[in-house]
């Protein structure tokens, strides 16, 4: 649904990883972090504590 709203799909990803699958964990985490880095810092749904007057 978040993708439907316009939140880039790279930002929310799912994977089943057992605690015994350490290699898979490393691979998935690296992949996701790279993907999010590519999309850049998120600006949507970010609360800015400084309000415009």
């Amino acid at each position: 649904m978040l993708t439907h709203l316009g939140i880039e799909p790279e930002r929310l990803q799912f994977s089943w990883i057992s605690s015994a699958e350490s290699t898979k964990f490393i691979d998935v985490v690296t992949e996701v972090v790279e993907a999010v880095r590519k999309v850049g810092p998120n600006t949507r749904l970010v609360k800015n504590m400084v309000r415009e007057p």
Partner: protein, 345 residues
């Protein structure tokens, strides 16, 4: 009483000229054909085709969300635990196109925020910065019942100038010195001739006649509070109510607010947001007890406040200017005029 004539072809230029001394605010359309008052961007003009804006101009002095102060709890900061009021500009603002009933509503709300003992600086400073350039209602809408609430389509109470759309020109009744200052800033200086003054008077009469919707509330004042409170009709009146905040948010005389802190790690701000007596948690106590924990109690309270308590306390009529917004916006058509009729019977 000074009345000026402003040719419509001179209007835009005058408006622009006044921008050097005033921030202009006025009604604009947005979204799905709804409207509200906001600051007019360069070149933007107030939309006079809107008779009753969806949201009232109360937001000009009483915004839906306002930062009261900011603070940090970070002990490493020099400002730790110091409450800082944000820099806010209270430079003069001209609210152009406000309707008479909304200006009267501001005066009603002022009784709460500007008292002999306490003045709310946020509201009072904003109100003092405003010059209200009103626009008379020449074509009242069906739900306008302002003539029976103590005001009317051409009322000047609460206004600094009253504009009347007379076809090719506006007539401008200058009510106060503040209004005169704006007129001078806009360089409008053509005095209206006697004929035009006559036209204004007859337009005023015509507009009042067009209003067919009325309310009567003299009996409500005479009745005992507890008798009204214990009436059986509250059950059927309150049944359809959704307890949303629509009526209170669109109402120009409603002014309740909630104070909430918002934190981001060690930085925070205290917010003042509109609140509504319709919301279930409006009266919840820190113990968890809620004295108005049923819909019937809340609905009854709203109408008692508007039509009975306010009059009992101030003896200045009901806490309603007859703008009709609650009637047209209520999702379930709860009609204050009908409730008033029942309470008054």
């Amino acid at each position: 009483m000074r009345i000026l004539q402003i040719d419509k072809k001179d209007w835009s230029a005058g408006l622009e000229k006044s921008r050097k001394d005033y921030t202009l605010m006025g009604p604009v359309k947005e979204g799905n054909n709804v409207s509200k008052f906001k600051e007019l961007a360069a070149g933007e003009e107030p939309d006079f085709s809107i008779t009753t804006t969806t949201m009232s101009p109360k937001s000009v002095v009483f915004p839906q969300s306002e930062v009261m102060f900011t603070f940090t709890t970070d002990s490493a900061s020099a400002d730790c635990n110091i409450m800082k009021v944000p820099e806010k500009s209270y430079s003069p603002r001209a609210v152009i196109g406000i309707r008479p009933f909304d200006a009267v509503a501001m005066k009603i709300v002022k009784m709460n925020f500007d008292t002999p003992d306490y003045q709310d600086p946020y509201w009072c400073d904003a109100y003092a910065a405003c010059t209200f350039i009103g626009l008379a209602i020449t074509d009242p809408e069906a739900c306008d019942f302002s003539t029976s609430t103590g005001t009317g389509p051409f009322d000047t109470s609460g206004l600094d100038v009253l504009l009347v759309d007379a076809g090719d020109y506006y007539l401008a009744e200058v009510v106060t010195d503040k209004g005169d200052s704006w007129i001078q800033s806009a360089s409008f200086d053509q005095e209206a001739d006697a004929e035009s003054v006559e036209i204004l008077h007859s337009m005023r009469k015509e507009a009042k006649k067009k209003i067919e919707s009325t309310v009567e509330f003299a009996n409500i004042d005479k009745k005992e509070t507890l008798d009204l409170y214990n009436e059986k009709y509250w059950d059927s009146i309150s049944f359809p109510c959704l307890n949303c905040g629509t009526c209170t948010y669109v109402c120009p005389t409603c002014w309740c607010f909630d104070i909430q802190d918002e934190m981001a790690h060690k930085n925070g701000r205290r917010m003042k947001n509109w609140d509504s007596c319709m919301f279930p948690n409006f009266t919840i106590h820190t113990t968890g007890h809620n004295p108005r924990n049923t819909k019937l109690m809340r609905v009854r309270q709203r109408f008692m406040h508007k039509l009975k308590y306010h009059q009992s306390k101030y003896n200045m009529g009901i806490m309603c200017v007859g703008c009709g917004r609650c009637v047209t916006s209520c999702p379930v058509n709860i009609d204050i005029r009908e409730v008033c009729k029942q309470m008054n019977s």
